[in-house]
């Protein structure tokens, strides 16, 4: 167990190293990406360019620049952005994280509740029009591009019907900190929550339904029914609990990925300054320090979540342990 933990940790570090090298290499392979002229400013004279190149160390060999950047990012934590030069990237990400957390956890609440409801209902009424209708709605949710849905939501709530009683409560786009106004926080996020949750409701509802259907054929379910428990009770008390294992591990991975910036499109469409949007901004401005920091941040989340899920499997299921 300890061995596998150690090995896993080693592999995780290797993965993170690989990602950082990849990003660094990609950045310096892009023509026009050389940050010197952007830092020096338009029209800067060649002498000024030279001084900036030297002061920022862009004239040093790439491996050394890489090492310096990693040191500044992880050890001294004083890596500063190239576009907003006073901005340290680590605190910048720490400030963006609560916004993403607010968005993702609210959406997660909605999608877990809604998908448990639809999945259980569909499995309970298997083969009926309700089942087919719910699963079709789930598929529809999976098929809608999230940015498009967000745009249409904005069109409806911010422009077309903003002045009517239906949506006049929707605040302008952007994030309102919980500490500033809890009700404002809720009103600003409720529509992004729903937009982000739609696809996951579809996915999770379908996964849960098929697990429940598979589980209902198992012996312990038959036993429970034979004992005379009501079908709905069996479904909820026994079936749901068993099926939750897949559901929870899937949830762990998705949640981690969204926290790491996977909700980029939702954040961009609704103007929420979260980690995903920060990464997008960094990429569109080719701001290497910020790209590096935000991608490493999301990679850490995803890799750790993967490792935790794998470890939990190893601990729970001896077959997987032998298989590795």
């Amino acid at each position: 167990m300890l061995m596998s933990l150690g090995r896993r940790l080693g592999q995780t570090v290797f993965v993170l190293f690989g990602i950082s090298v990849l990003i660094f290499a990609v950045f310096f392979a892009t023509p026009g990406a050389d940050p010197t002229s952007r830092i020096a400013g338009k029209n800067a004279s060649p002498e000024t360019m030279e001084r900036v190149r030297h002061e920022y160390g862009f004239d040093r060999p790439l491996p050394m620049q890489y090492a310096t950047m990693m040191k500044k990012l992880f050890i001294t934590r004083d890596l500063a952005s190239y576009t907003n030069r006073g901005q340290l990237v680590v605190p910048e990400i720490i400030q963006a994280a609560p916004i993403t957390l607010s968005l993702v956890s609210g959406a997660a609440l909605i999608w877990v509740a809604a998908s448990v409801l639809t999945g259980t209902l569909a499995a309970g009424f298997r083969g009926t029009w309700l089942d087919r209708g719910l699963m079709m709605a789930g598929l529809l949710g999976i098929s809608i591009p999230v940015f498009w849905l967000g745009q249409v939501a904005n069109l409806i709530t911010q422009a077309r019907w903003h002045d009517t009683w239906m949506f006049s409560w929707v605040p302008g786009p952007g994030y309102i900190p919980f500490t500033e106004s809890p009700s404002g926080w809720f009103r600003a996020l409720i529509i992004p929550w729903m937009v982000l949750a739609v696809m996951f409701i579809g996915i999770y509802g379908r996964v849960l339904r098929s697990d429940l259907v598979a589980v209902s054929g198992e012996d312990f379910m038959r036993t429970a029914r034979a004992k005379g428990l009501s079908p709905s009770r069996v479904m909820i008390r026994h079936g749901l609990r068993t099926s939750m294992i897949t559901f929870v591990s899937l949830f762990g991975l998705d949640f981690a990925q969204l926290l790491g910036g996977g909700a980029l499109l939702t954040e961009v469409v609704f103007g929420l300054q979260g980690v995903g949007r920060l990464t997008y901004q960094a990429l569109s401005g080719l701001d290497l320090p910020l790209i590096m920091a935000s991608v490493m941040y999301s990679a850490v989340f995803v890799v750790l979540a993967n490792a935790v899920v794998d470890l939990v499997y190893v601990a729970l299921d001896p077959r997987v342990r032998d298989g590795r």
């Binding site: 400013g41 000024t48 907003n84 006073g86 400030q95 786009p173």
Partner: protein, 568 residues
């Protein structure tokens, strides 16, 4: 004497309404000679922008949104008038107490520092601060150190060894009398304008010589930046040490606080301003909202004229546009009417046919690239494209059938223009395509001659009202730096004759501004005859105010003056 001039100027200006077109009469700006910050002072001004405007170091940052903030926080010896007025108005004295004395045919400029001015820290402004700030331009690697200030004696030494920069003999100050004398290596009629540009603001002498990043150094203006976080917001409050000394140069502020929030899409910003959540946004109003604003928010829209130009730079060192006839053909063929439509229609854009924008000093109408006109016989304005002439020139050039790639920034407005240019090139018989890049990459990419960009679509705003901002900066031999990402002469064009005309224009303008302007116009015609670029359009800036904003808040160079917002 100067006071009188300023006052009468203001009266004249307010009578005519200036260059700003707004449909509502503004009760707060009734002319009585001075501004009265009485009835509408106070409140919190709420501004918004898509992204943060970069470093808060005023001597480093070159982005317009930050220059607008810094206009109400810092002062230079000179400044641009912070009130509506003609586009060609030159710098006015700010921390200097009058127009500078010009000696030696414009090689020496003598300023006298205004007395009893304090920084927001309470420190008294002295000539030491002026000298230190001029040195700091070099020490902090300001982008304009080379192009604007290296002709101060000692400047080129400073450029090479900033750490040991003294500007000895170049900036001579007398602390007792408060005079500062600048000695230049050659005459420069534009020197006061350059001192008025944001990078030459005066900071306390003990300011760090490194880019101050998110920490704004103290200034002398009516506001001070109390906090700045590029990921969320900037906050300003009144500088309690500020006393208004000149309402044109640095008017006292109306709002008590200013909050500037970042990170919203322009479409959302418009909605937020309509709904009263913000008072103003930094970006131009998106084109699809114009009709809505014109219909329902007429009195809250301001159309601001400013010096700008959209153009396509043609690489004169790479086929097919190393051929003069091919360049001229392209210029004849472009439908500038379509360019106007792409930029929002005739109410907000006009066709551009020459490199100096309308309203700038040295602008004399001369359109060579319209039906019936030619380089030797220019028309007063652009009317329609001349496809026959263009096709004839293409045949003569023998370049038809070549591949041409237009490199454009990825923003929708630029892309629409790039696609229009692509269609034009296709009609001329080229195999044309568009390549778009994020603007941050595109701008350095198209400047570097190593990338062999054939057509670069770009735009240019003037730092100060001068023809040189366009002709010399964008098309003179000395601004072409091969193999460098910073070579604003994207065409790689070099016309000795035009350069000579520009040098003459400078020399003449020291004594006779008008004669200088005529020479600039001649240089413009000379350059355009060589067609190194395709000028496309000049736009007006459309901005929207919330319903609680009153007052004349626009000005030509800064476009907007935050201290002038009166909040109901």
């Amino acid at each position: 004497m100067l006071r009188c001039f300023v006052v009468s100027f203001l009266i004249v200006f307010f009578m005519t309404g200036g260059a700003v077109h707004s449909a509502d009469a503004d009760p707060a700006s009734t002319p009585n000679g001075t501004f009265r910050p009485a009835e509408h002072a106070g409140g919190t001004l709420k501004l918004t922008a898509q992204s943060a405007p970069g470093s808060a170091d005023p001597q480093v940052n070159y982005l317009a949104p930050m220059l607008q903030v810094e206009a109400v926080v810092y002062d230079g010896l000179m400044t641009f008038a912070k009130a509506p007025g003609p586009l060609r108005r030159h710098a006015v004295p700010d921390l200097a107490d009058g127009q500078p004395e010009q000696l030696d045919d414009g090689r020496t400029w003598r300023f006298h520092l205004r007395k009893n001015i304090y920084f927001s820290t309470g420190k008294l402004l002295t000539t030491d601060d002026v000298v230190a700030s001029m040195q700091r331009i070099f020490k902090v690697n300001s982008p304009t150190a080379g192009p604007y200030f290296s002709h101060i004696i000692g400047g080129s030494l400073c450029l090479h060894q900033p750490k040991r920069c003294t500007l000895d003999g170049g900036v001579v100050a007398d602390k007792e009398t408060g005079t500062i004398v600048f000695h230049l290596t050659h005459s420069d009629p534009e020197f006061p304008d350059r001192l008025a540009f944001g990078h030459a603001v005066i900071l306390p002498e003990n300011t760090s010589v490194n880019d101050t990043g998110n920490n704004a150094p103290p200034g002398t203006g009516p506001y001070r930046i109390t906090s700045y976080n590029p990921n969320s917001e900037m906050r300003l409050e009144r500088n309690t040490w500020f006393r208004q000394w000149d309402a044109l140069a640095q008017p006292a502020g109306y709002p008590d606080h200013i909050i500037y929030r970042f990170g919203f899409e322009p479409e959302s910003e418009v909605t937020a301003i309509e709904n009263g959540q913000f008072d103003w946004m930094a970006e131009n109003v998106p084109l699809d909202r114009l009709s809505e604003l014109g219909q329902h928010f007429t009195s809250r829209v301001r159309l601001v004229d400013f010096l700008n130009l959209y153009y396509a730079a043609l690489n004169v060192n790479t086929p097919p546009f190393d051929n003069l006839k091919a360049r001229q053909a392209f210029n004849y063929a472009v439908s500038r009417r379509a360019m106007v439509i792409h930029n929002g229609g005739p109410a907000v854009a006009i066709p551009a046919c020459q490199m100096i924008p309308q309203g700038a000093p040295g602008f004399e109408p001369a359109c060579m690239w319209t039906k019936g006109a030619s380089p030797s016989d220019p028309a007063p304005e652009w009317e329609k494209p001349d496809m026959e002439q263009a096709r004839k020139l293409i045949t003569e050039s023998g370049t038809a059938g070549q591949k041409v790639i237009i490199v454009s920034p990825q923003t929708p407005g630029y892309l629409a223009m790039a696609n229009e240019l692509r269609s034009t090139l296709a009609r001329l018989g080229y195999i044309a395509s568009v390549r778009s890049m994020v603007q941050a990459v595109q701008f350095p990419y198209v400047q570097n001659s190593d990338n062999r960009v054939q057509v670069a679509l770009t735009g240019w705003n003037a730092d100060y009202p001068a023809a040189s901002s366009y002709l010399e900066t964008l098309l003179s031999c000395k601004t072409f730096h091969p193999h460098s990402d910073n070579s604003l002469n994207m065409s790689g064009y070099c016309d000795q004759g035009a350069d000579l005309l520009m040098a003459q224009a400078r020399a003449v303008a020291v004594k006779d501004q008008e004669a200088g302007d005529h020479l600039w116009a001649a240089a413009d015609r000379e350059l355009m005859a060589g067609a190194p670029t395709v000028p496309l359009a000049q736009v007006r800036w459309v901005t929207l105010l919330s319903s609680r904003v009153q007052g004349e808040v626009t000005a030509p160079i800064y476009q907007i003056i935050f201290s002038r917002f009166q909040l109901q």
